[in-house]
Structure formats: structure tokens, C-alpha cells
Symmetry: C2
Subunit: 257 residues, 2 copies
DNA sequence: CGCCATCTTGAGGTCTATCAATTTCAGTGG
DNA sequence: CCACTGAAATTGATAGACCTCAAGATGGCG
């Protein structure tokens, strides 16, 4: 049993959990490991691919093309579950890589299955988690398909800004522009130029890899960024009459329904 | 109660179902409606958005940008559940539109919730369903991000070819090239030119909207298409010792031009 | 037959990739 | 302290992919 479980905390933002659900979830995080930046947590082609919860650091999922090009599909930050998009697959298609030194807890499909079969509540929360990840990917499609370089980058930075819950509009990007390029489907050269463009427009200031967004609203307008897709809304999947609804505010450590 | 439930059939491809699970799933399809081509089943901004199962015809999910551009995210064919990617959202962000005349069964988040809370087995199958939809979107990202026009189109056609389970490599596309363009993040003019390119390369023959792929292997090579992401693999989410495994063979469907 | 949506084709311009050269900067070691 | 090093970022030049606009061709259908 882990003294502090990341996903329990995360899920408590969505809805209150029973003692039993808490215990089940914490079980997934019993094995805390550390991995260095650049470490491949899961490689493409791997049978019975593992899952991980990410306790600290940054990681990403990557898909490789035969010609050696790579596309970064998702960037994981604190408390996310990695590998969920491949539940039910015999064989892994995407790679998981640590972008920084990370702490993560590996678990198996079997572990996941055990949790799911024991709590329909947790199953629902996992579905919602998957749906949120899906909406991140949808925004990625929108960016790559419809936005030009600088807009893509602006959108990306705003997403990081909101997901890290930075309150001073200052974000730290712990990886290089090539990673951003592979995530946004553009060349690293063009990423650099897009940075310049945002700076020239007064929408961005940089100090090494620490970035400052002086006018988030203007940048959001410029990038057609709408934070709604990042919001937690547990709505009617759990109707009010069947399950107590949490206060829409963030819930502090202890739950009291 | 419906005499024949599409999703039950669909889910039986994944795993055997109990009587009770079958009944639960069929419940979702008790309300069979017909909608004309072009009908908006669900619009962006809608509160408590509904879900649908698609019994016949083609539909798609669409995301609109402030400047009026649209991106088609997913094309739905027979027996798919539409709206799953927005479970847990208070408000719909994507639109659902019928591409042809369709038969579909609307149901509410509440209906879905009832099913989920009564069967952890069905919950698991729904998660797998979501993961498969996710992998379709991943391939879309790969296409838009890394493949050039003709490759994108080839990949798209092969995906249709496999999803419709056409055995004679003949597919019928019941919508115009503008739809394809919006799905692949390119202009309709470029779609037309990409069609020409595939024809010139001998990878495609057309007769109106009926297409013939004379050399699927060559086209797959050309488009870096790998059908694995379309495969049904229920693997270890339901370990063999806990639940009997279905035959991995694809279930034949009837194709009539 | 004529209408309309759709598809095709051409021309010019924009965006982005690629290649290559240069600069920056943090480490490293003399 | 300063030169050396290598990764990363920037900048310039060129080429290719793709978009947009516009005109013309095609084909289904009343």
C-alpha cells in the first residue's frame, strides 16, 4: 500500500470514492519505480504491454513510421495513466518514453482487469479518463489539420499552461524543440520560427526553457484555443440521484460527501 | 426490445456475453429512428448530449473552428456507438452528422450509466471499444501529420476497405470528396489530385463512387498502412482463465455493391 | 434538354520541409 | 580563466507540398 496515491487524488477531482475504491486504485500504484529521461517504458511490438501511472516528471507516447519518422501522440504529466489507449490490444503499437527522469508505477492488464471487475464506479471513472485523453487527441488533430505553425505552437503552449495549472502564466518546458516538432507534426526548424513569430507578436517571452505568456487571452484568440476540452465534467454519466455529486470546486485531500 | 441488436452482435465478436449482458445491451437499441442524409444528430454546444448506435448507413463526428472550417474526426459505419468519446462531458463539443440516410438508436447518458453499473463485463467491452476508436484517431494523426496527400488518401481508402470487410477490394464511398478532404485535413482540390495520382500509379480504379483497389499490398506499402490497428484483440484485459476467448477470425460480412 | 452539384484542371501564391551554415550556451578540461 | 566541445537553437536559401481562386468538364436527374 502506498502512503499517497496519485490516481486516487486525481480521481477524487472527478467524484468521491468509497474506501474500497480507494484501496483498489492504490493497489495499482504499489510498485513505484524510477526511470531516467529517455528511457523506453514500453516499446512498439511488445506483447501484453504494461500500463503505468505517472507520479512525477514528463513522458510521452510515440508512434514510429517505417521510414523512421516519429509522431508524438500524447504528452503525459503528473498523475496520468499511461497505456490506457491500448487496453484490449494484444500487442503494443505505440511506444512510451520518459521525457524527464520520472517516477512511475507499472501494472499489468490483469491488475487493471481486477480493478475493473470489482468496481463499476472505477470503471466509469476510467472511461471518463479515456474520453478526456481522447479529447486531447482531437485537439491535436485540429491543430495539425487546420492550424498553421505559430497557431499550433500557441495552442500547444496554452494546453501545457492549463494542464500544469500554472497560475502566473509561466511554464517550464523540460524538453527540446524537436520533441515539440514531433508532437505538432512539423519540423524543428519551423518550430523555432514559430517561437520567433509568437515573440514578435508579443504573445510570448522566453528565458531559456522557461516561457512566459504575457497575454493568455490574446494567445487563445490567436490559436483558437478553448480550454473547455480540458475541463473535468462528470455530468450525467453518474446522475445525481444515483451517486452523490461532488462540489464542482476542487476537492481537498479528505472526502466528505 | 429489438429483435436484432447491432451492438450485441458487434460485442460478440469481442467476447461471449451472458443472457443478462445481452439484454442490457439490447436495451440501448430499443428506440430505432431513421434520419436523412445531412441530418445533425447532435450539435456542438448541446447540453447532456445523447448517444446513438448506428444500425445502418454512414455518419461522422465533426468539429468546427471559429473561422468556419470543419474537421471530420471519425467516420462511423455499421454497429458503432456514436458519442462515446464524450462520456462524462457536460456539454458536447463535436457534432454528429448523418452522411447517408441512416437508422440509429438514440440513448441517454443515463441509459449508458445504468448498463455500466449493472455489468462490469460490458464496461470492459465499452472501454475496449473506446480504445479502438482511439487507435483510429491515432492513425488519423499519423496521416495528417506525416503522410502526403496521396498516401493519406490511400491509407483512408484502405481503412474503409478493411472496416467494411470488403473481400473483393471494391468499396463504395457514399459521400463526396469534400467530406474526404475535411476528414484528411486537406482541400477538396488536393483530394481530387490525389485520386488522380493513385490512378496514375495503378493503385486505384474508379467507377463513379465505386472504387477498386487492384493491388492492396502495393497500396498498403505506398501508404504505410498496417491493418493491425483495426484488429480485434481482447487480450489480457479479460484473461483466458477468467473468461473464455472468442475465435480470433474475423466474422464475414456480406458485401453487395 | 437544361440544371445543379460534383469533379477536374490550370495558374499563382503561401506555408512548410530540407539542407546547410552560424550562433548560443552549458559543460568540460587544460 | 579560457579554449574546446557538443547539443540545441537560430537563420538563410531553395524546393516541394499544398491552398486558393477560377474556369471548364462531367454526370445524375427533373
Amino acid at each position: 500500500m502506498v502512503d499517497e496515491s496519485c490516481i486516487v487524488e486525481k480521481f477524487l477531482e472527478l467524484a468521491p470514492l468509497s474506501e474500497e475504491d480507494t484501496r483498489l486504485l492504490a493497489e495499482l500504484e504499489k510498485d513505484v519505480q524510477t526511470y531516467p529521461a529517455g528511457h523506453i517504458l514500453k516499446s512498439a511490438g511488445q506483447k501484453n504491454p504494461p500500463f503505468f501511472t505517472l507520479r512525477s516528471g514528463w513522458a510521452c507516447s510515440v508512434r514510429l513510421l517505417p521510414d523512421g519518422q516519429r509522431q508524438i501522440l500524447h504528452i503525459f504529466i503528473n498523475s496520468q495513466i499511461m497505456g490506457l489507449s491500448e487496453v484490449g490490444a494484444d500487442c503494443s503499437e505505440t511506444e512510451l518514453m520518459a521525457l524527464t527522469d520520472i517516477e512511475a508505477c507499472p501494472f499489468t492488464a490483469r491488475d487493471l482487469h481486477d480493478v475493473l471487475s470489482q468496481s463499476s464506479r472505477v470503471s466509469q471513472l476510467l472511461m471518463i479518463t479515456m474520453a478526456r485523453e481522447h479529447s486531447l487527441l482531437i485537439e491535436r488533430v485540429m491543430s495539425i489539420g487546420k492550424r498553421r505553425g505559430a497557431e499550433r505552437l500557441g495552442h500547444f503552449l496554452l494546453e501545457i499552461r492549463f494542464r500544469t495549472k500554472s497560475r502566473n502564466n509561466r511554464i517550464h518546458i523540460p524538453f527540446n524543440q524537436t520533441v515539440i516538432a514531433d508532437a505538432l507534426g512539423m519540423s524543428s526548424v519551423h518550430v523555432s520560427r514559430s517561437f520567433s513569430e509568437l515573440k514578435k507578436l508579443g504573445l510570448l517571452q522566453t528565458d531559456g526553457r522557461t516561457l512566459f505568456l504575457p497575454d493568455v487571452e490574446a494567445l487563445a484568440e490567436f490559436s483558437s484555443f478553448c480550454p473547455r476540452y480540458l475541463e473535468v465534467g462528470s455530468a450525467d454519466l453518474m446522475p445525481a440521484d444515483s451517486i452523490p455529486r461532488p462540489d464542482p470546486q476542487l476537492i481537498p485531500g479528505d472526502d466528505a460527501p
